[in-house]
């Protein structure tokens, strides 16, 4: 994507060649009180409110170098503009992975993934990006370069900026460099798909999994038109629950057999083990689904896992033709609407779905809304579980001019 086509009010785009130049440009913008829009791979610019103030795009595409890769230490230090695909390729040569799976990995930058706290289906097995960032460098809204953490996996010196900047949406600093911890790639991985006739069956299976002896790294509940076309899944069933397992051959085989036995004991349908090709094909679909930019509205709900099926039921009531992906063991539901809700977002999201999620300690955010209609702080971000006054004080201390990605997040 070229930056000219972005939905941002950019007067120009600068492409600094190194971190010092970037810091200087932010400092210049601060001196002139010009807004700065950090640009990584530009894959998540639909996420959040659309900024209105004119400003300068600051592209990190040239700040994308490998800094250090001591593979035996299972760590990697790179500049923030490096893409997720490049990282995956680089570390795979040593049998390692950063097990965070995001759409458009060939475009998406590691800095952007951290800033948006974007996480894929593998949360149950691998956690989220916050568990992998052990060192971070950024530039605040005045041009002050700062870093936290370091290059070692265990470190409690000073405040943890790695965490503060995770999910910060480029509003507390432009992330310029990160150190990540890595994991070995397991020798085997496979997926089992369980065709289900209704949500009740899904609920039974999911609550039974709490006591399962198996440890799936991903548990996905899928339904809707999108999945009807997926060759890896049995198209006659309205619902599919997929469980992915990894480990040594011995471990994977044991878990596959054990799951089959557990399903049988609970009188649930028989699971079908996918071929390696189907497993890979499905995995790619699972990772890419939330991008759904061609759809009129994509939302993501986060709640405790037991709330998942109730939420899905409510979403289905609102749009029977929607497509759904739930990271069901993690309580995350992505809904791609087939139509922009007739009743509008204040009724559909604020009035209906946000309260359903809240009843399960959760929240709903908009991932993309190409029409831009009814994007308010409340419809877009739901109810943030942190005091706005505290968030605003942090914002003000790191960006006193409100110049970093102004208008994106909930700050007044």
């Amino acid at each position: 994507m070229t930056t000219e086509t972005l939905s941002l009010p950019l007067t120009e785009t600068a492409t600094p060649v190194d971190q010092d130049e970037l810091a200087q440009q932010v400092a210049d913008c601060f001196a002139e009180q010009v807004p700065v829009y950090p640009l990584g791979g530009c894959t998540s610019l639909d996420y959040g409110l659309t900024p209105q103030q004119e400003g300068i795009g600051l592209s990190l595409t040239k700040i994308n170098r490998l800094v250090d890769f001591p593979a035996r230490d299972l760590t990697l230090t790179v500049e923030a503009g490096m893409t997720m695909a490049t990282i995956a390729e680089l570390v795979a040569e040593e049998g390692l992975q950063l097990p965070i799976h995001v759409p458009d990995a060939g475009q998406a930058s590691i800095g952007g993934v951290i800033a948006t706290n974007w996480n894929g289906p593998a949360r149950p097995g691998y956690g989220t990006i916050r568990d992998y960032v052990i060192g971070i460098s950024a530039v605040d809204g005045t041009g002050l370069p700062y870093r936290g953490g370091g290059r070692v996996v265990k470190n409690v010196a000073g405040y943890d900026f790695c965490k503060l900047l995770t999910g910060s949406l480029g509003t507390l600093g432009v992330i310029t460099q990160v150190t990540l911890r890595l994991k070995p790639i397991p020798p085997q991985a496979t997926t089992l798909a369980v065709p289900l006739s209704d949500l009740e069956q899904a609920e039974n299976l999911l609550s039974g999994l709490v006591n399962s002896q198996t440890t799936p790294y991903a548990v996905e509940l899928l339904s809707g038109e999108h999945w009807q076309d997926c060759p890896a899944l049995d198209t006659d069933s309205p619902w599919h629950l997929t469980l992915s397992y990894s480990g040594s051959e011995e471990e994977v085989n044991w878990m596959v057999g054990q799951l089959e036995q557990e399903l049988q004991e609970q009188a649930l349908p028989v699971a079908q083990q996918l071929t390696d090709d189907e497993h890979q094909q499905l995995w790619d679909e699972l990772v890419e689904f939330p991008a759904g930019k061609e759809d009129p509205l994509v939302i993501q709900a986060t709640m405790v896992p037991s709330g998942t099926t109730t939420f899905i039921h409510e979403a289905r009531q609102l749009d029977p033709a929607c497509s759904i992906q739930a990271h069901a063991a993690s309580g995350i539901v992505v809904v791609r609407f087939a139509e922009f809700p007739e009743d509008g977002l204040s009724r559909t999201l604020v009035g209906t779905l946000q309260p359903v999620a809240a009843a399960a300690h959760g929240n709903v955010v908009i991932l993309s809304n190409p029409s831009g209609r009814e994007m308010t702080a409340r419809s877009t971000w739901g109810s943030i579980p942190a005091p706005l006054s505290l968030l605003s004080r942090i914002k003000n201390n790191f960006d006193p001019g409100n110049l970093l990605n102004p208008g994106r997040f909930v700050y007044p």
Partner: protein, 479 residues
Amino acid sequence: MVSPTIAQVLGPLREIVGAENLLTSASERIVYECDGFVVEKNSPDAVVFPTSTDQVARIVQACNEADIPFLPRGAGTSLAGGCLPVGGGVMIVLTKMKEILEINLRDHYAVVQPGVVNVWLTQALSGSGYHYAPDPSSQSACTIGGNVATNSGGPHTLKYGVTVNHVLGVEAVLADGSIAMIGGPAGEMPGPDLVGAMVGSEGTLAIVTRVWVRLTRDPQGYRTMLGIFESVDDATHAISAIIGAGMIPAALEMMDQGILVALEEAFQFGFPLDAQAILLIEVDGLEAGLDTQRDDIIRLCEESGAREVRMAADQQERLKLWKCRKQAFGAIGRLSSSFCTQDGVVPRTQLPNIFKKIQETSEKYDIRIVNVFHAGDGNLHPILLFDERDPDQVKKVMEASGEILEACLEAGGSVTGEHGIGVEKIRYMNKMFRDSDLQAMRQLRDAFNPDNRLSPDKMLPTAGACGMEQTHPGRQAAL
């Protein structure tokens, strides 16, 4: 003698918590003059034991109105002076807020008050199939609130991570006395990860009054091994080989000969006294894969020159091995009346170099140093033995500690892996971080704690006043 400033807050404090939950006499307050870092001491002006979040909030408001500093404390097992009341003030001890409020297995979380002792949660979950993963060696005494403040580690962090990886949300009293809910049982929230930023902030950002922790499925089984090596180099080579083979053991601990001798005297486990290093290695997970992993580890240890690899035959033997490890520091008393433990970290592949450096330092200063490492994480605990009655030795220990920590920094590491900065390591902050990094840390602290009344003079060096002058090394009891 009660200062006039503190006198004006005693009435309100008594009203909030009741006379039975307020200590004011010097003889009672002296118990709270330090934590596990016993070098620097200062009694708080008053000690309160709130029993509810609302009481904590009102105490903080009362302190603010009287312009008196205040700080939280759990069990006081921290090792860097994190709950030292620098400059006095009101100490808010959270040990009477000790309820486990909820255990929810379906959604794998528990809600606890900050004064819940770490091991109580382990016990409450026993038999449920789930556990709370962080298990610092002081787990039978330390509180979960304290674990959150210090982002505690422990021997199982290699596979399971540290406290922050297991905290989903907190309820906290902010420095202005307001009550905030940050995050919650669902974990992920939009916007900056404030929960993550608060964990490990050593009580300088807020006072945590409730914690949502993640529960982890119990492993089906364990295999616990003891690799016996002729040299530390061989042992560290084995560690690299194991991790290089794609295995992440649940724990990978190294002990050198000095500590082995003390442990053997204390526990008679049958450690060979002439071995230069032993590795305590534990893998856990599905039974299906464990024997293969065990065999691979034994092979890799032997290929790296292990003299022998023993296996814990049963759960009893396994627990005994862990008891040895977790009580290693208790055994130090057999070697020396005074000791000082450091907490440096290096990239794990740098372990042989840093070990050489520790040995050289030991020889240079003529100070005996024994070692217990969380080797899988590259986290060192060199223990410097000395006689605190001898001022010359005291000085040498200070210098030797400094040299070791600086070598950790040169190797790309950190001065603290799990004990924290507190007051003990403030002087290293500007060696580890640039001025601009420290400036940004102040920006964060000031957003939470603008008047700096909450645990002042901790963690960040302050221009002109940096806590207390350190003239004496730490004598620490556990890790």
